[in-house]
């Protein structure tokens, strides 16, 4: 990895952390409503995987899809951060025009195919995106991020089976943070090692890695993505990670111990990557401080400002986007005799 890339990745992860922190505040200020699920702690996964995916090429990007904890996945795929924030503020300039909110960020122009609130629902959608890419003969792949809890849904089983039988180019990225809301994985899952659920059962290659270390994520994600793209087959990659905040805003975290939290905080992907870069002499503590300041300014003066100042959707447009705006009259016009 180039030094510039390292610095860029560190900056990105810090940005993602601060972005989510600012969302937290905005929620407390009641600027954001509904359910809000923050990504703090897991940054290395989305950052690392998507850095290895094809992005920055608009409609040629790989397809990315995930659950409700989706802000960072969207931004890293290419959705402008100010549009994501505007979405959270429910504005017409938001990624989903204020219709979707935190759990439903979409940016079709970047092939960010959405965040979904039904746990497990993205599995088949992802396989379908992959089927589309394959059918069109592009070499795009689909990348599906999902939690450890989601893997207990029937859609996991059904989709992995079909993805394998039909050789679909889809990468399943399991972000194993050990919990589904307040239920620990050992209490819900017969095989807690997620990657072991797929190899023999579906003839899909799989592996497990440290999701708190961006360099590991980058390396392993690259291998997996190359495999999927080249072999036109699914792959299942599991990253062990942890969320530093509650499941959503209303979560008191009574289900886990402070000790466990502290243990994982030792593995903070940003802190450790910072330390490494400092050790390697690529950056200083002060540089990082400056970077943080710059990021905070950007968030405040550009992103939040944009979100604040943007207009809300018009109430008269309530029923817009339910169906196709301009369907061909032959399919929905008056009946021909």
């Amino acid at each position: 990895m180039k030094d510039a890339d390292k610095k860029r990745l560190l900056r990105e992860m810090i940005f993602f952390r601060r972005f989510e922190d600012r969302c937290f505040e905005a929620y407390m200020e009641r600027k954001i409503g509904g359910f809000l699920h923050l990504y703090s702690g897991q940054e290395a996964v989305a950052t690392g995987v998507l850095d290895m995916a094809r992005t920055g090429q608009g409609e040629k990007n790989d397809y990315v899809i995930t659950g409700y904890r989706d802000h960072i996945h969207a931004i890293k795929t290419g959705a402008p951060a100010r549009e994501v924030m505007a979405e959270l503020f429910g504005k017409e300039t938001g990624s989903s025009k204020g219709r979707g909110g935190s759990m439903h960020i979409f940016d079709a122009s970047q092939n960010f195919m959405g965040g979904y609130a039904l746990v497990g629902q993205p599995f088949p959608l992802a396989a379908g995106l992959a089927m589309g890419a394959k059918h069109k003969g592009t070499d795009q792949i689909a990348i599906c991020f999902l939690g450890d809890g989601a893997n207990n849904q029937g859609t996991f089983h059904e989709t992995l089976n079909m993805a394998s039988v039909w050789n679909l180019p889809v990468l399943f990225v399991c972000e194993n943070n050990g919990y589904a809301i307040g239920t620990h994985i050992d209490r819900s899952t017969a095989q807690p090692e997620q990657y072991k659920r797929v190899d023999t059962a579906y003839n899909i290659k799989s592996s497990q890695h440290d999701g708190m270390n961006i360099e590991t994520v980058l390396k392993e994600a690259k291998k997996a993505i190359d495999y999927v793209r080249k072999e036109q087959k699914p792959y299942f990659i599991e990253f062990m990670t942890y969320r530093f905040r509650g499941h959503s805003m209303s979560d008191a975290k009574g289900y886990r111990t402070r000790d466990e939290e502290l243990e994982w905080e030792q593995r903070d992907p940003i802190k450790n990557f910072s330390k490494n870069l400092i050790k390697e002499g690529l950056i200083t503590e002060q540089d990082i401080k400056a970077m943080e300041k710059e990021i905070d300014d950007e968030i405040e003066n550009d992103i939040i400002k944009f979100a604040e100042e943007s207009p809300e959707p018009k109430v008269e447009e309530l029923t817009r986007y339910v169906l196709d705006d301009n369907p061909d009259p032959r399919w929905v016009g008056p009946l021909q005799k």
Partner: protein, 326 residues
């Protein structure tokens, strides 16, 4: 014009659209090698190959979801669910995903899938194979629901559905696949909206959809013998409902009956009657009547089954009741 069976009409629409556009694919259980339970895709596996006529494992929820995902990037999947009873397994992906993705994404994405499935009672298939369920789809924002009554609509609406950019649910009927009708040999389309007056009359409006249109037509014939002129309206689309055509007919006849095969309560019948109450309450000369199935799971025994579902005679008797003749 060529005499065409309902299943042949569906097959022809598949074939033409698949020949025209390689983004059109068919998915479902036993639709490929086996040609489809009702032959809707017969021969197409050999013609278009296994990548376009896709035999699916028994995984309704996820292959429907895969179809939806594929539709988001430009494909046009026609998904066959072998029986509407099994569609409940896929309801999450249809109702929570396909129907809402355009809206949630602020219009950026669309899910132009077609889901075809037979709903209705056949002969003694019992409770788990006799569901009708039109009500569950027609009450979901973001879907289109159509119910072709014969080969003309079966062909023309499927063609339109494939080209429509909205998710379209086509409810067929196990008892109609062999129904025949002359249809044009040149390509045509039938609108996914709009009810149709399939028989003109002046004394009473009989409203049906899908199979129940035929019950209405049969009843209309019997009423004619009694000197009663019945107009028959085929709803054709259950979402959106063409309230205008209904209103016009009711304002002409002043009497109305709705025939649905679904078990009441809560369904097509109640929605149509309520719409009439909202649109032309004061045009009514009599209490509207709905004919529907009994509120029971469908029994296996033939006599019980017969008693559970509506027949032409029920429509006939119902019409007489509306008109105060019994």
């Amino acid at each position: 014009m060529a005499e065409t069976a309902y299943w042949e009409a569906i097959r022809r629409a598949h074939d033409e659209e698949m020949a025209r556009d390689k983004m059109v694919i068919a998915m479902g259980e036993d639709i490929g090698v086996a040609g489809g339970t009702y032959k809707a895709t017969l021969g197409l596996y050999d013609k278009y190959g296994e990548d376009r006529v896709i035999d699916c494992p028994i995984s309704e929820n996820s292959y429907t979801g895969i179809g939806i995902g594929a539709s988001m990037v430009g494909m046009r999947p026609i998904i066959e669910i072998m029986s509407i009873n099994f569609a409940l397994l896929a309801l999450d992906t249809i109702v929570n995903a396909a129907a809402k993705i355009r809206y949630m994404s602020g219009g950026q994405l669309q899910c132009p899938i077609v889901m075809r499935t037979p709903g209705g009672t056949a002969h003694q298939l019992a409770a788990q194979h006799s569901a009708r369920l039109a009500r569950m789809f027609m009450s979901t924002s973001g879907l289109r629901v159509v119910t072709p009554r014969g080969p003309l609509d079966a062909y023309g609406m499927l063609k339109s559905a494939i080209r429509s950019n909205d998710p379209v649910i086509i409810i067929e009927h196990e008892q109609m696949y062999n129904l025949k009708e002359d249809i044009p040999e040149e390509e045509f389309f039938r609108s996914l909206e709009g009810a149709e007056v399939v028989r003109e009359g002046t004394d009473i409006t009989l409203i049906g959809y899908n199979y129940s249109v035929h019950l209405c037509l049969e009843a209309a014939k019997r009423l004619e013998a009694d000197g009663i002129s019945a107009e028959v309206v085929d709803l054709r689309a259950l979402k959106p409902i063409d309230r205008e055509t209904i209103r016009e007919s009711v304002e002409k006849t002043h009497n109305v009956l709705v025939a649905e095969e679904d078990e009441a309560p809560v369904g097509v019948g109640s929605e149509i009657i309520t719409g009439i109450i909202e649109d032309c309450f004061f045009a009514l000369d009599s209490q509207p009547v709905r004919i529907h199935a009994a509120d029971v799971p469908v029994p296996y025994n033939a006599k019980l089954e017969k008693a559970a579902i509506p027949h032409a005679d029920d429509v006939y008797q119902g019409a007489l009741k509306v008109l105060g003749k019994i």
